[in-house]
């Protein structure tokens, strides 16, 4: 279990204080009591010496009874049993005046009066001392308590003050997002350690921002630089298509090359788009009606969906006006469409719901939930890939063909679909490039929208949650 730094320090202080208080109070009590007892004993001894020195020489045997009658605290009694030395002890006597037992310190000592042995008894009331001790201990405890609580409160206040820059930096780092914050700023502090920490953090974040930007630029530049060779590649394939001397086997290779080029080009375009999104090239926003984007795109995607014989149903409950870059809103919606079709099953269905503050694309697909935390990462297509190979009936045949590719001479390969050229390469398209959901997420992030995924009633639901009162 983790604790807050302040609580940890103060907790230690508190435990220490309680221990000190609990041990100090009884120790103090007993120490004071012992001191007082010594004091009482000394007084008793003085009484005894005074008695021995001044009273005994003048004392007659008959005086003893008178003495005892006149003195309450010093008595002379017959020595039964006989004592050999000074004996101190405590004893309580009933005080008739106050009607309660009072503690006394008593000294008994043997004494010889006119050659007769007697016992000298002197007593001292401890009642005042007890009150004193109690008061002293109480006072002491109060002082100690005041001291410790003051100490505690002061430390708490000081610590809060002292750690303030630390908590500020912590707050800053917690909120820091490398793809959003372009600069870092930590406040100057009076404390050297915190300044050192802030300097280290600044250095660290600045370095990371630089590396991040470097990588982003690298991806953007790489994607841009790839466009020209891809153009050459595509042009050469287009040129090769026009050759009249191509054999059947060669034409199949060529068709595959063309499909691969198409995939490459799309992948590169998506990479470019992602890096443009990250470098915020679509900053300008305006009011966009999502309904009209969906309605504009639906016929295009209905055509796409018909390849899998999928039905697209549209359920409009609200007019969704949002603030967004119009290009991004279109890309977002089209990627949601594409995702719903791409991962759908044969004869599946797609439901698009426009509700208050949300738009949901639901589609059939594999009958299990996708791993959500990896879903929106780039090039995460494991779930979809597995799905693809399970769901397409022609896959086995296609795979068989692939195996032949590697083992047999090219011209021996027989193809499946004769009427529709290149038809067997369909799965090259349906497997996607693993960037669609990353693009959706990125655009949602840029617009401060949320994209949620869940799996219910065999439907994969992607819901875009729009902030309330956006317009």
């Amino acid at each position: 279990m983790t604790k807050k730094l302040l609580n940890k320090t103060l907790g230690s202080y508190l435990i220490f204080s309680v221990i000190v208080l609990l041990t100090a109070a009884p120790v103090f009590y007993f120490a004071t009591e012992a001191l007082y007892r010594e004091d009482a004993d000394e007084t008793l001894l003085i009484n005894k010496n005074n008695f021995f020195h001044y009273s005994i020489p003048n004392m007659l045997e008959a005086d003893i009874a008178v003495w005892n009658k006149m003195n309450r605290d010093i008595k002379i009694e017959s020595a039964t049993p006989a004592l050999s030395k000074d004996t101190f002890f405590f004893q309580s006597y009933y005080d008739t005046l106050h009607a309660e037992n009072e503690p006394y310190r008593i000294l008994k000592t043997p004494v010889i009066i006119h050659k007769q042995p007697y016992t000298f008894t002197s007593k001292i009331s401890l009642i005042e001392s007890e009150d004193l001790i109690e008061n002293i201990v109480l006072l002491f405890s109060i002082v100690l308590l005041l001291l410790l609580s003051g100490f505690y409160l002061l430390t708490k206040r000081f610590s809060l003050q002292l750690w303030k820059p630390f908590y500020k930096s912590l707050d800053y780092i917690e909120k820091f997002e490398i793809d959003k914050d372009l600069t870092v700023f930590f406040e100057e502090s009076e404390i050297e350690e915190f300044n050192r920490l802030n300097q280290a953090l600044t250095k660290f974040t600045v370095r990371n921002i630089r590396i991040y930007n470097g990588q982003r630029e690298f991806i953007e530049n790489a994607a841009h630089e790839l466009q020209t060779p891809l153009a050459v590649f595509q042009a050469k394939i287009d040129t090769l298509f026009q050759r009249s001397d191509i054999t059947e086997g060669q034409s199949e290779i060529l068709s595959k090359l063309d499909d691969t080029a198409t995939r490459l080009i799309k992948l590169n375009k998506n990479l470019l788009l992602l890096s443009k999104l990250e470098s915020k090239q679509f900053a300008e926003t305006e009011t966009v009606l999502l309904n009209s984007i969906v309605e504009k795109q639906i016929s295009f995607f209905e055509e796409q969906a018909s390849a899998k014989n999928c039905q697209i149903n549209l359920l409009i409950k609200e007019q969704l006006f949002v603030k967004s870059n119009p290009v991004l809103a279109e890309i977002l919606i089209s990627n949601l469409f594409l995702n719903a079709i791409r991962h759908n099953i044969q004869n599946g269905s797609i439901l698009i719901k426009l509700e208050k503050n949300s738009i949901t694309f639901s589609n059939n697909g594999i009958n299990e939930m996708l791993v959500e935390n990896r879903l929106f990462q780039r090039f995460n297509k494991t779930a979809h890939e597995t799905f693809h190979f399970n769901s397409e009936s022609s896959v086995k045949e296609e795979r068989a063909t692939y195996n032949k590719w590697s083992n047999a001479p090219v011209n021996s390969v027989k193809y499946l679909n004769s009427d529709s050229p290149g038809g067997l390469n369909q799965h090259l398209y349906t497997s996607g490039n693993g960037l669609g959901l990353a693009i959706i997420k990125k655009i949602a992030d840029l617009n401060s929208w949320k994209i949620n995924y869940n799996f219910q009633n065999n439907l994969h639901n992607f819901t875009l949650i729009l902030p309330e009162h956006e317009i």
């Binding site: 020209t228 891809l230 040129t239 298509f241 080029a261 018909s306 290009v327 469409f337 398209y429």
Partner: protein
């Protein structure tokens, strides 16, 4: 028809040149800004294809120069760079079209044809191929002088095929042409087959020859046999 191709990537330039040549377009190549400028001032072209990143300068400089010389050539920018800004700037400087690399040669060809048609044959928007006649203004098609019922997509497909006659067109090239702005969202090119089938049927029923050939394993071709 004569066009100037400003392109520093020689392989690409040669492919474009050879593709266009068999459709009666003569293509001269300039691989840098200097030679492009000297060619422009010496000859007349129907169209200029302009790459933006040239070794000795920017394509926009050539564009500015063309406008300064009050040349009437149609200009298509063919660039690997595509940002909203570069597009806007290109159009503002007087470009007529913007084609982002990579592109299909078939797409480039129909873009050139459309541009030259717009620039040169104002008012005359009739395209004919034997018994097939297309009126671009009214977006109608006549076969043997009688109108046929044709959808917008089918008309688009017909224009693309005739524009690229005798060329083998891959399904992806046709699909991308038909999808326009949404081409990047294509996941499946099977719909091309349906459109081809329908177009073929309509033309055939109207008494046209069967010009649309299926090229086994590759795609389709408009061919006069």
């Amino acid at each position: 028809m004569k066009i100037l191709l400003c392109e520093d990537e020689r392989d690409l330039a040669e492919s474009i040149q050879s593709y266009l040549k068999s459709n009666d377009i003569l293509c001269e190549i300039a691989t840098d800004k200097k030679s492009a400028l000297s060619k422009i001032s010496a000859f007349e072209y129907d169209c200029v294809l302009l790459d933006l990143m040239l070794p000795d300068g920017h394509g926009f400089d050539i564009l500015t120069e063309l406008k300064a010389q009050q040349k009437s050539e149609g200009i298509i920018i063919t660039s690997a760079v595509e940002t909203l800004d570069s597009r806007l700037e290109g159009f503002q400087l007087g470009a007529d079209d913007y084609l982002t690399k990579p592109f299909h040669l078939s797409e480039l060809l129909v873009r050139i044809q459309a541009l030259v048609r717009r620039k040169k044959f104002k008012g005359n928007n009739l395209i004919d191929f034997k018994e097939v006649e297309i009126d671009l203004n009214s977006k109608s098609v006549k076969v043997n002088n009688s109108y046929i019922d044709i959808t917008k997509k089918e008309l688009d497909l017909l224009l693309f095929l005739i524009g690229n006659h005798n060329k083998v067109l891959s399904k992806s090239a046709i699909a991308e042409h038909l999808s326009g702005d949404m081409a990047d969202m294509l996941d499946n090119h099977d719909f091309v087959y349906a459109h081809i089938k329908n177009l073929k049927k309509k033309l055939h029923e109207a008494g046209s020859n069967d010009y649309i050939k299926t090229v086994y394993g590759l795609g389709y071709k408009w061919q006069n046999d």
